[in-house]
């Protein structure tokens, strides 16, 4: 019998931005068992929520994840609205879907970039993240923020979308069509990607059902579920779009589902923008309080269904707030998908369920708004970086090759 070795990935690992512990049991190069340990970053969000009022809980759950940062709020406010039987103005429903679908596109592009990176296809990584910037710019235009939009509240949304912003949003959206087509063709027709992802890390339909898999992880295995269609909420019952499913359940199909879903997201957003020019009225029913009761809210996040349960005793805080993110259901499917695969493929297989990583940092470029003049450009940042290095060299007494003096 071959000698069994454990290859630890985590809990703190250079390749993971978040702590999670994957113990790969291998015999030779083959993975024979996977043990997953959680809890290295347990934040007690459910308990914390019991100390917040119903509006504050939305801001709290927005910080569960930096990528699905509007999915948790939508599910949370829907749970409160279900508990309190609160009506939401139609205009607000369209705005919820616009923000939700923009989030899906930027999340899928983020994943696509990471997947390319894990496969050693760094061109895809660079390009995907470059076009993700355009999506974040649209989100910033609509919400004021690139991530953590603060848009949702029980009874509606906090900000309207101005008619005057809609042409700019449409232009940016239109500009995404060709890049996403490029990614589609790059994945569908690249022999390297085929070789690394087809037939790799297969999740069967039976396994997807048994593990309660969600989102693209489920749909790539032919498990035809999507909360947007099956349990219509926000504007999803009022626009035309298709649920994307594939049949093979391998890494390749998971990528295909996500890429094709981005076209559907653009379709949904365009229809919502059209409706926003027609459907007028308030964007918030401004409920005074949440009456005693209990409610369920669920929303199709980029990774699958986000589920929130809220119980109210009539006070201004929930007595219980249960949160279930899609990765809680999707990550355990790795126990099946890595079996029999090689260690080298394990990284992309584990990444194929798109486990949630927080990525909200960015570089700031200050603009002198009246003149439109850049105060900090890329050159300035390079100079600052050089200066910081020189300073560290002076402080530590270490003197390796000194970066060149920056020349304006």
């Amino acid at each position: 019998m071959a000698k069994r070795t454990i290859v630890p990935i985590g809990p703190y690992h250079a390749l993971q931005e978040e702590p999670e512990f994957f113990k790969l049991h291998v015999e030779g190069e083959t993975v024979v068992h996977l043990d997953i340990e959680l809890g290295y970053n347990h934040r007690g969000i459910e308990k914390l929520s019991e100390s917040k009022d119903f509006e504050e809980t939305v801001f709290l759950v927005e910080r569960i994840c930096g990528i699905c940062s509007t999915s948790h709020p939508i599910a949370c406010v829907q749970a409160a609205e279900d508990a309190g039987e609160i009506e939401v103005p139609e205009r607000a429903l369209f705005i919820r879907s616009v923000v939700g679908e923009l989030e899906r596109i930027h999340s899928h592009l983020l994943w696509l970039g990471l997947a390319g990176h894990f496969l050693g296809f760094n061109t895809i990584w660079m390009w995907a993240w470059r076009f993700r910037e355009d999506v974040l710019n649209i989100l910033e235009l609509i919400t004021g923020n690139r991530n953590h939009y603060g848009m949702m509240k029980p009874g509606g949304v906090r900000r309207d979308i101005n008619d005057t912003d809609i042409p700019a949003i449409r232009t940016l959206l239109e500009g995404l069509q060709d890049p996403i087509k490029m990614f589609r063709d790059a994945v569908l027709e690249d022999p390297l990607i085929h070789a690394r992802t087809r037939g790799i890390g297969i999740l069967s339909l039976e396994q997807a059902v048994a593990y309660g898999a969600l989102g693209p992880t489920a749909r790539a295995s032919g498990y035809d579920i999507d909360v947007r269609r099956d349990h219509p909420h926000a504007a999803y019952g009022m626009v035309e779009w298709d649920v994307i499913t594939t049949q093979n359940g391998d890494v390749f199909d998971k990528a295909v589902v996500r890429i094709l879903e981005m076209f559907e997201s653009i379709r949904i957003i365009e229809q919502c923008l059209h409706q926003l020019l027609i459907v007028r009225g308030p964007v918030d029913s401004d409920p005074p309080f949440i009456p005693p009761g209990e409610g369920v809210g669920h929303y199709e996040a980029p990774r699958g269904e986000v589920f929130h349960y809220i119980r109210s005793d009539g006070s201004n805080r929930p007595v219980r707030h249960k949160v279930r993110a899609p990765s809680f259901m999707n990550v355990p499917t790795n126990r099946e998908t890595v079996l029999g695969e090689t260690v080298a493929d394990a990284t992309i297989i584990l990444a194929a369920v798109d486990p949630c990583y927080c990525c909200t940092e960015r570089m700031a470029v200050a603009l002198n708004s009246p003149g439109g003049e850049r105060l900090w450009g890329a050159q300035d940042l390079i100079r600052m970086s050089c200066e910081k290095t020189w300073k560290l060299m002076d402080e530590t007494g270490l003197c390796g090759p000194r970066p060149p003096v920056f020349d304006d």
């Binding site: 809890g39 309660g212 099956d230 369920v296 349960y309 809680f328």
Partner: protein, 145 residues
């Protein structure tokens, strides 16, 4: 197929096990059952009805420890919550994870946070808390005084 028809099927299959049925709305139903019938009810929901377990929620209430199983009827646009109330002195349930792997992690979580024992769980150990967490100390328990 309407949710009403499916809920009638569920109630028919569960028979006397249904202690209370509440139709909160077209899209929501709450069914209360006794703790000893949880496995059978879950088997009906998963195997006969084809419902999808979204998650289970545990809550420490003055009346006892309540455990809710939220089931999605994806074809009927309905969420059915099957709930049961356990005594605080010895909260126990039969594990449904042995039949339905989707429940494996949440049963581990409810055990360590609320102290509900899941009989027959295939791999009962800490999920979120450290292995050195003191036995018998359940952070989501409340002091109802």
């Amino acid at each position: 197929m309407s949710a009403n028809r499916t809920i009638n099927r569920i109630c028919g299959a569960l028979g006397d096990h249904v202690l209370k049925l509440e139709r909160k709305s077209e899209r929501r139903a709450y069914i209360e059952i006794a703790p000893e019938t949880v496995f059978e009810a879950s088997s009906v929901m998963f195997r006969e009805i084809g419902a999808r377990l979204q998650i289970a929620t545990g809550i420490d209430t003055p009346a006892g420890i309540e455990v809710m199983y939220h089931w999605a009827l994806d074809g009927d646009d309905c969420v059915v919550t099957v709930r049961t109330l356990l005594s605080r002195t010895k909260p126990e349930l039969e594990s449904i994870a042995k039949m339905y792997p989707a429940a494996e992690w949440i049963e581990r979580e409810i055990w360590e946070l609320l102290g509900v024992a899941f009989d027959g769980h295939p791999d009962m150990r800490h999920l979120l808390l450290d292995d050195s967490w003191p036995a018998g100390n359940y952070p989501m328990r409340r002091n109802h005084g």
